[in-house]
């Protein structure tokens, strides 16, 4: 993705399309990633023998910190493709694995 | 009644503590003493006094309340104290001169 205008203060400002893509990657990607961490996290806790409610509370306590970290990373990573892959892709994979694991424990 | 007095003492202690820590910084020291140099010894003493006062404040909070509550009260008192000190330094810095009256 290329940069465009260069205002007088010397800092480049990104193009509108790139901004939109980066912001959606940050918001949607981080949300998906957080879902993945929660689902997989709860499933792993269930494997370790933790009661469901306790596992859920623990992951709820952690997930927002994960979101914030993912969001900040989305804006500092160089490659937009990598952001989408890691956050949305990774989130999707973790959600699937977590769900399958949890189903198996029923 | 006792709890009230302990909390007043804790607040005053936090206030003094933040005052001393602020005055251990050169720009704020110079607000009171002009371009007089802040010696390393004075800075150490101010920092020690400040930390001790904040520690005393925490202790007083723990004496006043249940532990989990006390930590919250202390944290917010330190915030309030820091704001008070910052605004005092901004508008009436001379009000803090008695905190360093011992250093001549």
């Amino acid at each position: 993705m290329s940069q465009t205008s260069t205002p007088a203060n010397g800092l480049t400002s990104p193009s509108g399309v790139h901004v939109a893509l980066r912001v959606s990657a940050g918001l949607i990607g981080s949300y998906a990633f957080a879902w993945g961490v929660i689902t997989l996290g709860i499933a792993l806790c269930l494997v370790l023998g933790l009661p469901y409610e306790d596992a859920k509370i623990l992951l709820y306590l952690l997930c927002f910190l994960v979101f914030v970290a993912a969001f900040c990373w989305a804006f500092t990573a160089q490659s937009l493709a990598r952001v989408w892959l890691t956050l949305a892709g990774g989130g999707g994979v973790m959600t699937l694995v977590g769900w399958l694991l949890a189903q198996g424990l029923n | 009644m006792v709890e009230g007095l302990l909390l007043v003492a804790a607040s005053l202690s936090a206030l003094c503590g933040m005052g001393w820590l602020a005055l251990a910084m050169k720009p704020h020291w110079e607000q009171l003493r002009g371009p007089t140099a802040l010696s390393a010894a004075a800075r150490r003493k101010l920092r020690a006094l400040g930390s001790a006062a904040l520690g005393a404040s925490l202790l007083l909070c723990l004496l006043a309340d249940h532990a989990s509550m006390a930590v919250l009260v202390w944290m917010m008192s330190v915030t309030g104290a820091a704001l008070a000190v910052a605004f005092t330094l901004a508008y009436r810095p001379s009000w803090l001169r008695w905190l360093i009256a011992w250093s001549r």
Partner: protein, 562 residues
């Protein structure tokens, strides 16, 4: 996208701070008011201005009142669209509950009624409620709006935007963006410790504004981190509804297991049964708490599966002396009064969760901490307001030169967010005193006064910020400050005129909810007057030159270097 980590963080802080700053000022302002929500209720409802009461006798007073509660008409009307077929004329009663704290003179009673034929949610239900005076069992009229707990507090958590829970989502996103702004702000502000106490009001324009922004942000950092985080954790079930979706089988399996081990039935048996003396159960619960070394009052009482053989009564201790809300639950079999289950001390995870929840919702008894919370909340408002003003002043001159009106609109919205929010609040307070007591849907009219006033402030700000195009300070700020001064004073005078409770009386009587709020209103009036005069002087002293600092705009580099 950016040439450095700091550049990225600067961009994120600037633009997400701008976008969500308006929402966050509103959330923090009404959050600060919500600390004293019940006290504001007393001011708004003069007939409830008496001392807080403990929960009264269930058997003699509460039970007959509970039995008369009807489902809320609006909720029933909404439920029609969710069900297949017709709703029965009399919806089956499921549960009763009552919750009280050490600050409640009046008691709210709730009932839940089952909505059975909803294909998407077998546990769908509607609510009914009533507010009573616990001293004599008299009900309060339903359309009396509790300004604090039923208007300012819901404003804080959901912005009164209920369609698809949109308000909860916006506030939640804003909370996350606040955390992002704090992280990015810490990255940008290199001299975090060195400039911890720095505030130079004598430095004109941008520098002093930035100082105040940094000061209020850094000094209250633990507060600014903990509150959005705990708020998010409280509503996490809305944002990540795992138990209702992906992990529903696991959640339900856990519930059934829990019900079995505790002896607390998941579903009613369908067999009718009488209810034993609940007062006796309360006495037993209090005895058990005292035995554990924590004597206390009832904070929360629920009856599940009312009138059924599987029914049980749950009694929780009010956590007035600690951070957690309620605890030490004791569950009794409703038909016999036998103890079914006494909750053990919570494990580590639950303790942390209960602490964080209680930290945010604050039902504890600690007046110093409550006022410190208000200080924290208002610091957040100042932080964001100065941030917005900094954004505007930085771009005003450039935009005015270019003939672009971006900064002017940001300033108009900033005015509506800051002085506008205060004016809307004062509008509803004045309306509360002016409107006739027997007006039908009085609460609805009060709410209209709020929204109407806010809209007026936005229009006023849009019209009276023209000078921003010439990079001068918008007169709208000063004018709205005068309006705040006037309306805050009139609220106090109207309280006196309509209830007879003037300051001298409330202070000598020691009735702090009303005395305290009147004093706060007078302080607001005084501060607004001083601000208006200061703004007036600033405007008069430099009629043609920009109100920004004489040293020129702070460049990006200067900002980035703190």
């Amino acid at each position: 996208m950016f040439h450095s980590f700091r550049a990225a963080m600067t961009w994120v802080h600037t633009w997400f701070g701008l976008f969500f700053g308006f929402v966050l000022i509103v959330v923090f302002f009404f959050g600060s008011l919500s600390v004293f929500d019940r006290e504001i209720d007393r001011w708004a409802l003069p007939e409830t201005r008496f001392a807080p009461q403990p929960m009264p006798s269930f058997d003699t007073m509460l039970r007959p009142i509970f039995e008369k509660i009807e489902p809320d008409e609006e909720e029933v009307a909404a439920a029609h669209s969710r069900v297949i077929g017709e709703l029965p004329a009399k919806l089956p009663l499921m549960n009763w509950s009552a919750y009280t704290t050490h600050r409640d003179p009046v008691l709210e009673l709730y009932a839940e009624f089952a909505v059975k034929n909803n294909p998407k949610d077998p546990r769908d239900h509607v609510h009914g409620h009533v507010t009573i005076d616990p001293r004599n069992g008299q009900s309060l009229p339903l359309d009396q709006l509790k300004l604090g707990s039923r208007f300012f507090y819901p404003m804080h958590i959901s912005l009164h935007l209920h369609w698809l829970d949109l308000g909860y989502w916006i506030v939640g996103l804003a909370a996350l963006m606040l955390l992002v702004a704090l992280v990015s702000g810490a990255v940008i502000h290199r001299k975090l410790l060195r400039e911890f106490f720095t505030f130079r009001p004598d430095k004109a324009g941008q520098r002093s504004r930035l100082d105040l922004h940094n000061l209020t942000g850094v000094v209250a950092l633990p507060f600014h981190v903990l509150f959005p985080l705990t708020g998010l954790v409280i509503f996490a079930g809305i944002y990540f509804p795992v138990s209702e979706t992906l992990l529903q089988p696991n959640a339900q399996q856990h519930e059934r297991r829990e019900a079995q081990t505790r002896g607390l039935a998941f579903a009613p048996a369908g067999v009718r049964a009488p209810m034993a003396s609940v007062d006796a159960m309360v006495t037993e619960a209090k005895r058990r708490w005292a035995e554990r070394g924590m004597p206390g009052e009832v904070g929360f009482l629920t009856v599940t599966h009312v009138g059924d053989a599987n029914g049980y009564v749950s009694i929780f201790r009010a956590g007035s002396d600690r951070v957690t809300l309620v605890g030490q639950g004791v569950h009794f079999k409703a038909a016999t009064g036998r103890v079914l289950y006494e909750e053990p001390a919570p494990n580590a995870i639950r303790s942390v969760n209960e602490f964080l929840t209680g930290l945010h919702l604050q039902h504890f008894r600690h007046w110093l901490l409550r006022w410190l919370y208000v200080v924290g909340g208002l610091s957040g408002c100042v932080c964001m307001a100065t941030g917005l003003c900094f954004f505007v002043s930085k771009r005003k001159r450039r935009h005015a030169a270019q003939g672009v009106s971006g900064a002017r609109w940001v300033e108009a919205f900033a005015i509506a967010s800051v002085t506008g929010t205060v004016l809307a609040t004062l509008g509803i307070l004045n309306a509360n005193r002016i409107l006739p007591t027997d007006l039908p849907d009085r609460g609805g009219w009060e709410e209209k006064a709020f929204w109407g006033t806010w809209l007026l402030t936005l229009l006023h700000a849009a019209v009276r910020s023209g000078p921003a195009r010439c990079a001068l300070l918008a007169p709208a700020w000063r004018e709205q400050c005068w309006a705040v001064a006037a309306l805050a004073l009139s609220a106090v005078l109207l309280n006196w005129a309509t209830t007879g409770d003037h300051l001298l009386r409330t202070l000598t009587r020691g009735y702090w909810p009303v005395a305290g709020f009147d004093l706060v209103l007078l302080a607001v009036s005084a501060i607004a007057t001083l601000s208006a005069r200061k703004l007036g002087r600033a405007e008069r002293s430099a009629p043609n030159t920009p109100q920004d600092d004489s040293g020129g705009d702070l460049s990006e580099a200067e900002v980035a270097h703190g």
